[in-house]
Subunit: 428 residues, 2 copies
């Protein structure tokens, strides 16, 4: 039987899990793919770190870049992470030297994917990154193969387990953000530095990659990104009363030949599918023709789920299934027009904490009407702090720039006691 | 660019839709797969039937079997249907003559799949049948490729849109089975002869195929099959009061190295994912290691969704991605032990319509205790018909054969006025 020689570079939790998996499942993978996955080399920054796995001495490379030069190596699995430095050097050199590459590195692909795909295509090697987007959810393979027939008009969903865990825990346990974040860190659902998970950057990187795959376009940095740090318990409670959940969602959609990419918290109807996804799960909804709506859901992170994705990529290479990294030849990818969301229309939830005195309400509603935003629903609640009121407004469909302008104008009024909140509503 | 010559045999709704799709999307499919899908021939039983598509005269074959003999044909798409007759002849001959085959024919694959896979493997051609299982849901590709890393221990879900539509409409509109079936026929959600959809046979064929793929086993006819014809509105109402929905589910699971295949209506918790799937949708849940639970959901039938699946198979062949039809070489497939569900344990819902007189309840409960089935919950309701009571019993986990024995024994009692109901409960 044919053999494919593999170098695993990076042996953290994921690399170690994968190494172990490949050892234990070499036989069945060989049978299924008609080719033996043979781990020839490994490399890690910290060779002496305690790992649960036994690695033979002869497997260790002196220098991780040697993998890109050794003529026996067919496939390099990059598990270093980060869009620059060692990971970047490794993947560029590997592809230049005609090695297949499998990576879980979303930051690298979102930033340098176009250039890397060009090199891979020129050298007729695979560049696979299923594990970079939504862990165990086989979404990239589905877009590129299972749903290949479809003209996709929208992809959206929950792409970050950490922030989804935090939002659903705030809801279920009626706790504030900071409290839940601490719990999440203790339970291992949030990293010690979770900023990329919480500020939307992690979702943004995944969404850029998915956008390219769905619309056959180049990667594009025109993307609106908001995280969940400003969501308060009171907003989640208010949403509940209005029949909504708050979720951090990523959206990419084609409207009148323009692409809109956006990542932000959204109020979404309780009865919708996405609202029911709690905890660390990921869920992706693809809307296309002829298939209609397709949903894929599963574990979005962790060594086990990520290994499932890495092995699907490795198997594809074992079978010799050479494909364009982004579905289509680099030359055929399109320079689509990406539009900022400021001109797009949303209905929205706004919350103002204001002094409880006469004239305030009429002043606020005036600002709305001056900016052509019509109010669908308004609720005024007394706040726990004496003399302060919460005003909650649900708007009709309005221009995003107008909604933001209103927040800015009212935010400067002296009767406003806290930065106003604006959360878009997804009524689909 | 390379070219792949295709013959489409069968031009009903699906065949016509596919023909049209391939005409319109030839260019983009060529680009994505680096090979041109060229429809060289078509054939249909009724050539003169009115179709919305224009077919050039030169495309028509004199005899459909000519496609298997013409040396220019690379791929035959079988859309005739049925496990015997023309479809069987066509597919066997095609594979024997080294033509790739794509089919949407679940009955054929469930019955002759093992033999067909053997021929395909011997002749190094593809036999692909994504469209045979759950229409637009790319479940076969996911099991064979996206989730290839996993040892699957259970697959289950909603595999029939017609019966799911009927059950969810009975629930939402509070109507009886026959009434809803009529609506479904008028709306095109049920065929004029829907018996295979309603008696569980359609689900059984799909489940047999999925079982083989998940457990690397040969197809096996040891399967328990029940349909939805005996579900009354009152059962759905009772289920609702107890916190359940009733769904027609297919399950295949490996327990202590034995495989259990079963198709039956089940009470499933309202809060569960599957309970939320209404209408004609299909949903498949795959539980495996290392990935955990993966869910795929989408349109399960109709020309559009089926074409999405057919084109994914065609594309795979365009790319030259030769694979074993059932994931693994025919020689490597396993003769696993398949067990009848009679020894498996379920909790269950039972309903007895009985004469409203003293002694009946104690007689019934005696039968339960004599057969070692313990009762978790019992509700007695007066029936609309005077002198008749409904007795609803929820049991603890009990042997399936004991549950059935109880139904048989009590069903013969003179105080019983209707055939008793037994519906298993899925508490997972």
């Amino acid at each position: 039987m044919k053999k494919l020689n593999i170098a695993i570079i990076g042996l953290g939790n994921i690399g170690s899990y994968l190494f172990n998996y490949l050892n234990k499942n070499k036989k069945i993978l060989s049978k299924k793919n008609n080719c033996v996955p043979n781990v020839l080399f490994v490399s890690a920054k910290n060779k002496k770190r305690k790992r649960k796995i036994k690695i033979k001495k002869k497997l260790w490379l002196k220098n991780y870049l040697d993998a890109t030069k050794d003529k026996n190596v067919d496939l390099i699995i990059e598990l270093i992470g980060g869009s620059e430095g060692a990971a970047k050097k490794l993947v560029f050199n590997a592809l230049k030297n005609k090695k297949h590459v499998v990576t879980a590195n979303k930051a690298l692909i979102a930033k340098y994917g176009d250039k890397l795909a060009e090199i891979a295509e020129k050298n007729k090697v695979n560049l696979e990154f299923e594990a970079a987007v939504c862990g165990g959810v086989p979404i990239i393979r589905s877009i590129k193969e299972g749903l290949i027939a479809n003209k996709i008009n929208k992809i959206f969903g929950i792409f970050n387990g950490t922030s989804n865990y935090i939002l659903s825990s705030m809801d279920k346990q009626s706790k504030e953000f900071d409290e839940v974040l601490n719990d999440a860190k203790n339970l291992g659902y949030a990293e010690s530095n979770p900023s990329a998970d919480l500020n939307g950057d992690d979702v943004a990187a995944k969404l850029k990659i998915l956008t390219s795959l769905c619309f056959n376009s180049y990667l594009n940095n025109n993307i609106h990104v908001e995280g969940i740090k400003n969501i308060d318990k009171i907003d989640i409670n208010n949403a509940n009363k209005l029949g909504y959940k708050i979720k951090l969602l990523g959206y990419s959609e084609q409207i009148n030949n323009k692409i809109y990419q956006r990542v932000h918290p959204a109020l979404i109807k309780k009865s919708s599918y996405v609202a029911s996804i709690d905890g660390v799960l990921n869920a992706v909804i693809v809307d296309g023709k002829p298939v209609g709506k397709n949903i894929i859901q599963g574990e979005g992170a962790g060594p086990a789920a990520t290994t499932s994705a890495l092995v699907s990529d490795i198997s594809s290479i074992l079978r010799g299934n050479i494909k364009f990294p982004f579905s289509i030849s680099n030359k055929e990818r399109k320079r689509l027009k990406f539009e900022n969301i400021s001109k797009r229309f949303f209905s929205a939830y706004l919350r103002f904490e204001v002094l409880d005195k006469s004239g305030v309400l009429s002043n606020i509603t005036n600002v709305f009407s001056n900016n052509n935003v019509s109010i669908k629903r308004l609720v005024q609640n007394p706040n726990k702090n004496k003399g302060i009121s919460s005003i909650i407004i649900i708007t009709h469909n309005s221009k995003d720039s107008s909604l933001n302008k209103i927040v800015k104008i009212i935010g400067k009024k002296i009767y406003v006691k806290k930065k106003p909140k604006l959360i878009r509503i997804d009524d689909n």
